[in-house]
């Protein structure tokens, strides 16, 4: 999201699912296995292709299901997204297909950007990416001749050490084509979890208060200090630690306590052995969860939370849409809504500790319901300024920014003007992944999810039907590699990296190209994250889940 924030001033999906599905004349789908990970958006893309003839370009090393519907499949080498996008932009510029008016009026930095793109000739791009010059030219032509085109991506773009560069390249592409601020266009990162957008929006990040108000900005600090009954010195001006930075510090003994709500780092973080070590080294691990997850053995305190069906409140979806969650049933036993647990804990910490909190508008923790919490959010978070449960219950559909109680929300960002004023072209050079295959670890591992399971699998492995239809981890191996490896009848494989080893059933398929295997992280007995590398994008701190080197053996 840092990439988009740099280019445009706001790091969220720019358009709405409806306008993308109904108005895009072409889709550029790169690094999202949409039909499996955002199935309803996948459905909408298939409908657009079948029912109104929209063009679809899929750029993915794997032959994902959407490729059956694609006008063109660019099967580039993993970790060569920047080169691919630069190469496409090179062809667009060479043919004069760029939107000169848009570049002139709404962007800056074009000249510096062009210098870099000029170096990515079709020959050079083809050599880096493995995509033929013909296909590169066809793709550039499709994107130029079918407007608006919408770009969609997910973790296939961001989970690289060059994740931010990848995103900025896509922002460059859409500005070059003039596809910003229009129905059916835009830069659209699909968010993987029901409320990952909301968690980002409401201060669940180390560098920002709710509504992306920077912690390093003294004015924002003053605002929150006043609202929460603190002196300014009591709030830190320093950016905090990301999850991927906390774990190494815990191993070193510098991070002493970790409080985890509804997350399962043992399944979801890279290099699982390292995570286990980190949690074991902490003095205190508090886990607020609905299940005894894979992280639970490392916890000192386990607090039972409520599932989504047991509480009222809101989630914010990938298109910035704030929607109600309604309580349908009561929680088992003494399990409590997470907002109740946090409030009660906060009161106890404040009552027993040395930290002084004065009386102020929002210093207290006496919440009767989540409606009251939303009122506090609205008062302190400009992009949620006009959000209330009542408006949502009345049937209004609100996409942030919602400036005040009368504002109808914002279905498309950057119409007429970018959040930062002019859009910023950024010159981006291709950099290869950190760990590439070598003699000892000759194949590439890429990781992700499958349709029938979800993230660390705590929920889906406890859903009978989903477990029945996909009962164990499968590792995708190309037919040619299977033959080379001499996979025998039982097709079990052992996959090892410098960090760990897993054994699982192989799925022999041409979905993966030769030289690459693909594994998921849904099953603790064979989780891909035992193998993944904790190499991070230097800015966004995202681990490189999509490329690391492994050795594959037949068992």
């Amino acid at each position: 999201m840092v990439g988009l924030a740099t280019a445009f001033g706001s790091g969220a999906m720019t358009n709405s699912i409806d306008d993308i599905a109904d108005d895009a004349q072409a889709f550029f789908v790169i690094g999202t296995n949409t039909t499996e990970n955002h199935p309803v958006i996948g459905m909408r893309i298939r409908q657009a292709v079948r029912q109104r003839g929209a063009k679809l370009i899929v750029a993915d090393p794997r032959k994902i299901k959407l490729t059956d519907f694609a006008t063109l499949h660019l099967r580039h080498q993993p970790g060569t997204d920047i080169a691919l996008i630069n190469g496409l932009m090179h062809i667009i510029l060479a043919n004069g297909w760029e939107d000169k008016g848009f570049i002139q009026e709404r962007s800056e930095g074009f000249e510096d950007f062009k210098v870099v793109v000029d170096q990515y000739s079709p020959e050079k791009t083809s050599q880096i990416t493995g995509v033929s010059i013909d296909d590169l030219e066809t793709a550039a032509e499709i994107l130029s001749q079918n407007k608006p085109a919408s770009v969609l991506w997910a973790m296939g773009i961001t989970q690289h050490t060059t994740g931010v560069g990848n995103v900025m390249s896509l922002a460059n592409l859409q500005m070059l084509l003039g596809n910003m601020g229009v129905l059916g266009g835009g830069t659209n990162p699909l968010r993987g979890q029901n409320n990952v957008q909301g968690a980002c929006d409401l201060g669940g990040l180390p560098d920002v208060y709710p509504g992306y108000q920077k912690v390093t900005d003294a004015a924002h600090r003053e605002k929150f200090a006043q609202a929460w009954g603190l002196t300014e010195e009591q709030l830190s001006l320093n950016i905090g630690l990301t999850a991927t930075e906390m774990m190494p510090l815990a191993v070193e003994g510098k991070l002493k306590a970790i409080y985890i709500m509804g997350e399962d780092p043992v399944m979801s973080e890279p290099d699982t052995n390292h995570i286990r070590k980190a949690l074991e080294t902490c003095d205190l691990v508090v886990l607020q969860e609905i299940f005894p997850s894979e992280t639970a053995p490392y916890a000192d305190v386990l607090l039972p939370g409520a599932s989504f069906a047991e509480k009222d409140g809101t989630f914010t979806n990938t298109e910035r849409r704030i929607q109600m969650v309604h309580k349908a049933i009561t929680s088992p036993g003494e399990a409590k809504p997470d907002w109740w647990i946090i409030s009660e804990l906060a009161k106890k910490i404040l009552a027993g500790g040395k930290r002084q909190v004065k009386e102020a508008d929002f210093s207290a923790w006496e919440y009767q319901d989540t409606d009251q919490i939303m009122a506090e959010i609205a008062a302190l978070t400009p992009i949620y300024g006009g959000v209330s449960h009542q408006r949502l219950i009345n049937g209004e559909t609100l996409q942030w920014p919602v400036k005040d109680a009368e504002h109808p929300g914002t279905p498309i960002l950057h119409v007429g003007q970018f959040s930062r004023g002019k859009g910023q072209f950024n010159p981006i050079e291709h950099i290869p992944p950190v760990e590439l295959p070598d003699k000892d670890f000759p194949m590439i591992l890429s990781t992700g999810r499958v349709l029938y399971h979800w993230h660390g699998g705590q929920m889906t492995r406890r859903s009978k039907g989903l477990l029945d239809i996909y009962p164990e981890a499968l590792i995708e191996v190309n037919d040619l590699d299977a033959e080379k490896l001499g996979l025998n009848g039982n097709k079990r494989v052992r996959v090892s990296s410098r960090r760990g080893t897993i054994e699982a059933q192989a799925l022999v398929t041409d979905r993966v190209p030769p030289g690459m295997v693909y594994a998921n992280f849904h099953f603790p007995e064979a989780s891909a994250n035992e193998l993944t590398i904790a190499a991070l994008d230097p800015v966004a701190k995202i681990p490189e889940y999509k490329v690391c080197a492994v050795k594959v053996e037949s068992v």
């Binding site: 386990l302 910490i349 039907g465």
Partner: protein, 373 residues
């Protein structure tokens, strides 16, 4: 779009150019019975229940496919129309099980409603009946072809909504039946189990296996909410009976999904009531005993007396111990020695509170979640 004026049952109405008679009638809340039509799907003209009389036309015509024309005069409820509908319903019933008393769809079955409305009381055409076995082995959807009326709603839903074309009608006439893939089982076809077919099935031919025997349509409370899986934010309707979710229905007005959803949203809800759910706070025994944290190597949660043993406690004790340990950590090592992981699964309101806990109560900015993972 131009307007078209016509008369339905003596009432002058205005329709849009290109409307069918059925669509025009619906715009004016004028009821015409039909089985094969569904608002989310293109018209099919399969069931012959929506027949109407059109002035100047000798035969009855299906209103779901017949386009409106200027000055058209339509009668939707004459003796002749009603008799034709009843005849068609009797034909359907002559090859349909009359087991409404145990059928899952009872109370939520269009065929049952229309049989009631047209007073179809028994099987008047005694002929051959189908006896299909009900044995599709997939884990999600029960397929009972005996209850299928060949309206092709499922065929259209699979083609038009999910776009995978896993369902089609095999053979013709009395031999016709719905089948999957190359006439195989559902799990051996391109089916992705989005459940759109189940949602639009007007009878009990397609039914969620998880919902079998769980409750009657009139016993449930319906609660609309947002799906807990991916970021699309599908709206779902949960059917609740006796504090248990027994079925998920489409929320057709959901702004991001328009009633569609995927296999996880429709059939992946039973985790909520899984026996593994944590229902009491727990702390390690060493914390209750006021001891230092023992070495990880000594960990044995099951063993009685082991310092790592989990002990169930009440909220007062659990939160008291947690607050005390957190205060100690901060006072000894500083606020930046603590890290907080908030949750992309939890509510906006809860994420805000975690941010407030981290920053106001503890005094660090080290809060994050798995957005990157």
């Amino acid at each position: 779009m131009g307007k078209v004026n016509l008369i339905i049952d003596g009432k002058e109405i205005q329709a849009e150019q290109g409307d069918t008679i059925l669509q025009a009638a619906r715009r004016h809340n004028h009821y015409i019975p039909i089985l094969c039509d569904h608002p989310a799907l293109p018209p099919e003209g399969a069931c012959r229940i929506c027949l109407v009389e059109i002035e100047g036309q000798r035969a009855l015509h299906p209103s779901c496919t017949y386009p409106v024309t200027e000055g058209m005069v339509v009668e939707t409820n004459t003796e002749r129309v009603r008799a034709a509908r009843k005849f068609n319903l009797e034909l359907l019933i002559s090859d349909h099980p009359l087991d409404c008393m145990t059928c899952e769809a009872t109370g939520n079955c269009l065929l049952q409603d229309l049989a009631y409305e047209y007073e179809v009381k028994e099987d008047v055409f005694h002929g051959t009946r189908h006896h299909f076995s009900v044995n599709d082995p997939n884990p999600f959807i029960q397929v009972d072809r005996n209850k299928c009326i060949l309206c092709r709603r499922c065929v259209r839903a699979c083609r038009e909504i999910n776009g995978v074309e896993a369902i089609s009608v095999f053979y013709r006439g009395f031999n016709a039946y719905i089948g999957f893939g190359a006439d195989s089982s559902m799990d051996n076809s391109p089916c992705e189990f989005c459940g759109s077919c189940v949602e639009v099935c007007p009878t009990g031919a397609l039914w969620p296996k998880l919902s079998l025997g769980q409750g009657r349509s009139w016993e449930v409370e319906k609660v609309q909410t947002t799906c807990p899986y991916c970021g699309v934010g599908c709206q779902l309707v949960l059917e609740v009976k006796d504090n248990k979710i027994i079925k998920v229905d489409s929320a057709w007005e959901g702004p991001s999904n328009h009633g569609w959803t995927c296999v996880k949203g429709r059939f992946g809800y039973d985790f909520i009531q899984h026996a593994d759910r944590l229902d009491k706070p727990r702390v390690r025994k060493y914390l209750l005993d006021g001891k230092q944290k023992p070495a990880a190597s000594k960990r044995d949660h099951e063993k009685e007396g082991n310092p790592w043993q989990w002990v169930e406690v009440d909220w007062e004790v659990a939160l008291g111990i947690t607050a005390e340990k957190m205060n100690q950590t901060r006072d000894t090592y500083g606020a930046d020695s603590m890290g907080f992981l908030t949750s992309a699964k939890c509510l906006n309101e809860e994420n805000y509170l975690m941010n407030k806990l981290t920053r106001q109560v503890i005094g660090t900015n080290s809060i994050d979640h798995c957005a990157r993972l």
